[in-house]
């Protein structure tokens, strides 16, 4: 035993987690922080813009309530998937993930239908500031939801390939967190447009 290694044994390494930790959770936090700030900025814009005299809320299409239900169900489904994979029930998790993905697609379809209802009524993007904000916020939210769908699809493929198990499903966990986040984001947008 050399002097150096003796010294190291007696005086262990400095108190710092030694091996690098996997960076994915931190990346997810950063993404969520960034998207949150984006919607904070939109909220600020809406709060200022609605003080103008031409701010007149329009009747939002009723289908939006159905869409809200669908996205909540999708979030729930994804949560079931996460619970299933925690127990090691891969096949079940795969089905739940596919369900969450499907409901996400249904939600997007429903949002498009809501747009079509408005177009039918002659309400377009520039028609009124309220309409502008509705189209803008639902579109930006939809884009972030598509990102979530990509993540779910990727998880589904990994599940099918048998890459996830009870003790190794970090990707699915993170995808689920993001999926809950975009679901909650829609609740926020819907509330903001309806309540203000």
């Amino acid at each position: 035993m050399t002097v150096g290694s003796m010294a190291l044994e007696r005086f262990p390494m400095p108190p710092r987690p030694a091996e690098a930790r996997p960076p994915y959770a931190m990346g997810l936090v950063a993404i969520i922080a960034s998207v949150t700030m984006l919607f904070v900025a939109f909220t600020a814009a809406l709060l200022i813009r609605r003080t103008a005299p031409d701010w007149v809320p329009i009747d939002l299409p009723g289908i939006l309530w159905w869409n809200t239900g669908v996205i909540l169900a999708s979030s729930l489904t994804m949560e079931f998937s996460r619970r299933a994979i925690r127990r090691g029930a891969t096949a079940l998790a795969e089905r739940w993930t596919a369900g969450a993905f499907g409901l996400g697609v249904v939600f997007l379809g429903g949002q498009t239908a809501a747009w079509l209802v408005l177009v039918e009524k002659g309400v377009f993007l520039p028609s009124s500031p309220y309409a502008s904000f509705f189209y803008l916020l639902s579109a930006v939210h939809g884009c972030h939801l598509i990102g979530g769908l990509v993540a779910l699809g990727w998880c589904w493929r990994k599940l099918r390939a048998g890459a996830y198990g009870a003790f190794g499903h970090r990707g699915l966990g993170h995808a689920a967190i993001y999926w809950h986040f975009v679901g909650g984001l829609w609740l926020y947008v819907f509330f903001m447009l309806g309540a203000l």
């Binding site: 002097v3 150096g4 003796m6 010294a7 190291l8 007696r10 005086f11 390494m13 400095p14 108190p15 710092r16 030694a18 091996e19 690098a20 930790r21 996997p22 960076p23 931190m26 990346g27 950063a30 993404i31 922080a33 960034s34 998207v35 700030m37 984006l38 904070v40 900025a41 939109f42 600020a44 814009a45 200022i48 813009r49 103008a52 005299p53 031409d54 701010w55 993007l125 520039p126 500031p129 502008s132 803008l136 930006v140």
Partner: protein, 585 residues
């Protein structure tokens, strides 16, 4: 087996679509230099116009037929030049070089990581930035020329294609270019934050990181939190331009005798959103420069950084405050005086942590054994620039004096000190300091000193003089400085300012020649030519792929210079503590 042999890849994988953080850092740095050629070139045209406003310049007319007509710079093109000089300098030169360039190159080397947390995202970030550059440059070649609404792109000027010539295609390309830039920068910031928090090597606690890494960390957090506001503003501005919405456009606008259909919007909203990013952006750029100055001052002063921990706390306080002071850019916009008072107080409060940083930089020099390498010269001059810029900032941060100075050359002089000189000197200090690690060769010191003195004399003279122009009432973005008689007593300064800046611009030619000559012909560098203590100097120069054969372990802080009178005068972060006598025996 050497690291190079392990890493045998095609030219394209290695130099173009590389995922190696060092290559990406160098790509960003070189892209910044390339964009800098444009931005400096445009500023030369601006300075020619201001120095000789009534001259006939047939040669320039022939060289740039789109900008000049019959030997005279077109007034609307002058505004394009000002706009694009600002935009490209802030986002495509300084951000690229300081944050993306040095950030990518140095973070893994400083914290003992093999690469960034997300190497592919990193490559994607660079290759999103390239089309952004192309869009910006291309905007000079569209009908009606490049964006002309200022780098702040305030509506309604920027929102109405018919408002000014540059507000057509040029402004649209500007917005798209900025959108790509923001996407690229966000990917980079995400990578930096994650890498710093998760990939530090054994023993590298947060409070053992070099200050450059700390500043880049804070910059990245600010970028993640502040840039989305500009994204939102840019999306809404695009919709106002092309979708017929009225987010920012008030009613009753008349352009060319026609009343526009827009109504109810408020241009002030854009200003708020813009400056919610715009002010933190200043700190995103300035902080890494200060971090580099700390590292360079410690190495070339052979002293530990004074007040390492207080500096970190000061940086954190600056980061928080920078997010809540944006309104000081808008004192004259008619905001409630009580709100203005708040923004004034918060702004002036930033001087406290900034004074701590400046004080610590100066105190680090106490009894230092200063080696006047060009890197050190730039770092020292940067301390002076921080002081001068900061003093001007007090005047502008105070609402009552800002009422007079707003939109004058005082502002131009002030921000050129802070985000011009401080950041550029940070880039130069970093380049001279890390050049051996980047390219495995030494950069020529004599040319470096010529570069330093010519640059310093030029920019310090020019930007101090601009403060006096502003005190005399000269407004920024004025095409013809002789247009107002009441400023005649100070506008003669424009000629010496231009000459000083031409000198500084010429110095950059020396720098580029030195840079590229040394890259291929410079003397070979050893692993640790500066006797520096931080991790990047424990690996060969240039640093191999994946940085170290075995990841180093860290036992001490980054600035242990001459602390115990040892022969070497410094202890590298990887040197373990000496075992006590009984163990040695």
């Amino acid at each position: 087996m050497s690291a190079e042999a392990v890493h045998a890849e095609s030219f394209i994988r290695r130099y173009l679509f590389s995922t190696d953080h060092k290559t990406i850092g160098k790509q960003y740095l070189l892209t910044a230099f390339f964009m800098g050629l444009f931005a400096v070139g445009w500023s030369i045209l601006i300075r020619i116009q201001l120095a000789w406003p009534h001259a006939n310049l047939p040669l320039l007319s022939r060289l740039f037929p789109g900008l000049y007509q019959d030997g005279v710079l077109l007034p609307e093109r002058y505004l394009s030049l000002v706009t694009m000089h600002g935009t490209v300098m802030v986002f495509f030169v300084i951000s690229f070089a300081l944050v993306s360039g040095f950030g990518n190159f140095i973070i893994p080397l400083h914290i003992g990581a093999r690469d960034m947390a997300y190497p592919v995202l990193n490559m994607l970030s660079y290759w999103t930035a390239v089309p952004a550059c192309i869009l910006m440059i291309a905007s000079f070649f569209v009908p009606d020329g490049a964006a002309a609404a200022g780098w702040t792109a305030y509506p309604p000027l920027s929102a109405l294609p018919q408002a000014v010539p540059g507000s057509g295609w040029g402004q649209t390309l500007w917005l798209l270019g900025m959108a790509l830039f923001i996407a690229s920068f966000t990917m980079g910031s995400l990578n930096f934050v994650t890498t710093i928090l998760n990939l530090r090597t054994k023993g590298m606690s947060m409070f053992r990181m070099p200050l450059t890494v700390w500043t880049l960390f804070i910059s990245s957090v600010l970028g993640i939190l502040a840039f989305p506001a500009l994204t939102a503003a840019a999306i809404m501005l695009l919709l106002d331009r092309h979708g017929g919405t009225s987010f920012f456009l008030p009613s009753g606008l008349v352009v060319g005798g026609q009343v526009l259909e827009h109504s109810g919007g408020t241009p002030l909203l854009f200003q708020h959103l813009f400056w919610f990013l715009g002010h933190p952006e200043v700190y995103i750029l300035v902080l890494p420069a200060i971090g580099i100055a700390f590292d360079v001052v410690a190495v070339f002063g052979r002293r530990p950084v004074f007040g390492y921990r207080t500096s970190i706390w000061a940086l954190l306080v600056i980061g928080v405050l920078s997010m809540i002071v944006w309104g000081h850019h808008m004192f004259t916009s008619g905001m409630n005086p009580y709100l203005g008072e708040y923004f004034s107080v918060a702004t002036v409060a930033i001087t406290v942590p900034f004074a701590v940083l400046g004080m610590n930089l100066i105190a680090s020099l106490w009894r230092a054994e200063i080696r006047l390498h060009p890197a050190m010269l730039f770092a020292l001059a940067m301390i002076a620039a921080i002081g001068l810029g900061g003093l001007g900032g007090l005047w502008l941060g105070t609402a009552s004096s800002d009422m007079y100075l707003h939109d004058s050359y005082f502002v131009v002089g002030h921000f050129h000190f802070m985000i011009g000189v401080v950041t550029a000197f940070g880039i130069f200090a970093g380049t001279y300091y890390w050049f051996p690690k980047m390219f495995g060769r030494m950069i020529d010191q004599r040319l470096g000193k010529i570069h330093f003195w010519a640059t310093s004399v030029g920019v310090f003279f020019a930007f101090i003089a601009m403060h006096f122009l502003g005190l005399g009432g000269v407004l920024r973005r004025t095409y013809d400085p002789t247009a107002y008689e009441y400023t005649a007593s100070v506008t003669w300064l424009n000629l010496p300012i231009s000459i000083a800046l031409f000198l500084a611009a010429a110095a950059q030619v020396v720098f580029l020649v030195n840079f590229f000559w040394s890259m291929f012909r410079g003397q070979k560098a050893e692993a640790n030519p500066w006797e520096a203590a931080t991790l990047e100097w424990t690996t060969p120069s240039p640093a191999p792929h994946l940085n170290w054969r075995e990841l180093p372990s860290v036992f001490r802080g980054p600035y242990e210079y001459r602390t115990d009178g040892r022969a070497a005068g410094y202890r590298s972060q990887v040197v373990p503590d000496e075992p006590p006598a009984e163990v040695r025996a």
